[in-house]
Subunit: 249 residues, 2 copies
DNA sequence: CAGGGTTCTTGACCTGGATCAATGTAAACT
DNA sequence: AGTTTACATTGATCCAGGTCAAGAACCCTG
């Protein structure tokens, strides 16, 4: 930005931009799910200014790579992402799928390097929150800090649930749990709980659940035969959500 | 505590108590690993005052139970803990083991209810950090907030590693990873990296790693036959840490 | 230190889901 | 249109690790 130039018309332009900017978070469809929730409007305006908005990524493009230096936390704005960690032999674990309003990269705060690789599953966009700037606000906006911790805590608790899934559940329970969790998350975002698109491949699902692709394919077939769900390529219709919930274990 | 009584000798007693209190965190053997690290000494004194210290628990006693209302985060002072979550059919997953300097209960910040049950594995003590009081300090001590986030982030990243373990590793790799991780954590705490006690039962280990007790027993036997480690009941001697690390995958 | 419980080890057997293999489908590029 | 390459389904076979069973070693507590 160039030096301010004190002629009246320019001032008004700046004011207008500021105002539109101020609205960006408030008018966002994800506001209800997002970080700024509960901030005072002047705090929100300050936060708004440091957010780098609407960076767009196409399918398979990386948002960041494993061990890259940590600079920002990202919030999914549209589309979907997966994060992966690799063990040896090129084995990879899909550690999570991320949908609009969800945060990516928080596990890098401690080590200051991203601990996973994040890839877009389809054309997607994110809001970037430069972490240093966020910290500068810390003292002035304790609610913001609290929101951040709450987010971290939420991911922690869903990771623990995933441990139960990976460690204790059968293939069928895993599959049912996955579908119910997707349904829940779509509903939270104002979409249908019973009809949605799977943006990830069968092999991503299998990997995430600790199963083989073939097993996922068979399980989906079985659930379809049992009239619990209907698949048509990537699109899913849940026909008996209650029954599916009972299968979760 | 009774009302202050302004005679000189009592004053001196109070001053002395305050001073000792001030030292409690600084003189703690775990200071280097703990939350107050990096705080200014006056901030430290304030933090010191809200910490409820040295609560003692005996073997199998619960620190908190699943779904109990969240009030405090705990730091292990001595001994060891495990946390568990239950699926249906009474199946339980041991989600973590916690040693001195490590934090328990952070996954409850979001939901305001503990998301797991924490039990002492041996006679243990904790420092209790009442979360509301901690929050009150937030604005005044941004470093403290930052430390908290860093802690949360660290647990997040170790949970992701556990996902790789549960989802992708073989029984042998799991076992090796577990032993190496214990070794590392004991070393960080100033203990021997090669000789330590397993405070948890075989069945807790098995459960945590997503294995059957019998498999753990066989694996430990096999590692012992291969001269990598030596077991004598609960005590372990790692004889070839490097080889063990190679087995982690 | 006897005895009743719990935890640990070891062996024999079994199975859920992995792996291998072959074919089907469908999007992406000539 | 046809060709390539990736993804998905289905069947046949296999095996790592689970389950069952039976002792052995280790507690506790009286």
């Amino acid at each position: 930005m160039t030096h301010a130039n004190n002629v009246a018309p320019l001032f008004r332009d700046i004011a207008k931009v500021e105002h539109e900017h101020h609205l960006a978070c408030q008018s966002c469809a994800l506001y209800r799910l997002c970080l700024p929730l509960g901030l005072h409007s002047d705090d929100l305006a300050r936060l708004d200014k440091i957010i780098k908005r609407s960076q767009s990524l196409s399918r398979n493009q990386s948002l960041f790579n494993y061990l890259a230096p940590f600079k920002s936390i990202y919030v999914v704005r549209s589309g979907a992402f997966k994060t992966t960690i690799s063990a040896s032999n090129g084995r990879e674990q899909v550690t999570g799928f991320y949908f609009p309003g969800e945060f990516i990269g928080m596990d890098a705060i401690h080590s200051q390097n991203y601990q996973s690789t994040a890839k877009a599953l389809e054309t997607s966009s994110v809001c970037e929150l430069p972490f240093e700037r966020l910290q500068e606000f810390g003292a002035a906006m304790p609610q913001l800090q609290m929101q951040m911790m709450s987010r971290l805590s939420k991911e922690l608790s869903s990771d623990k649930s995933l441990m139960v899934l990976l460690g204790k559940k059968t293939a069928e329970e895993k599959m049912a749990t996955f579908l119910v969790s997707l349904s829940r998350r779509f509903q939270d975002r104002g979409f249908s709980a019973t009809e949605f698109q799977l943006s990830m491949s069968r092999s991503d699902i299998a990997n995430h659940l600790g199963l083989a692709v073939e097993t996922v394919s068979r399980l989906l077939g079985r659930l379809q035969d049992g009239q619990l769900v209907h698949f048509e390529g990537k699109s899913v219709t849940i026909e008996d959500l209650e029954a599916l919930q009972k299968l979760c274990g």
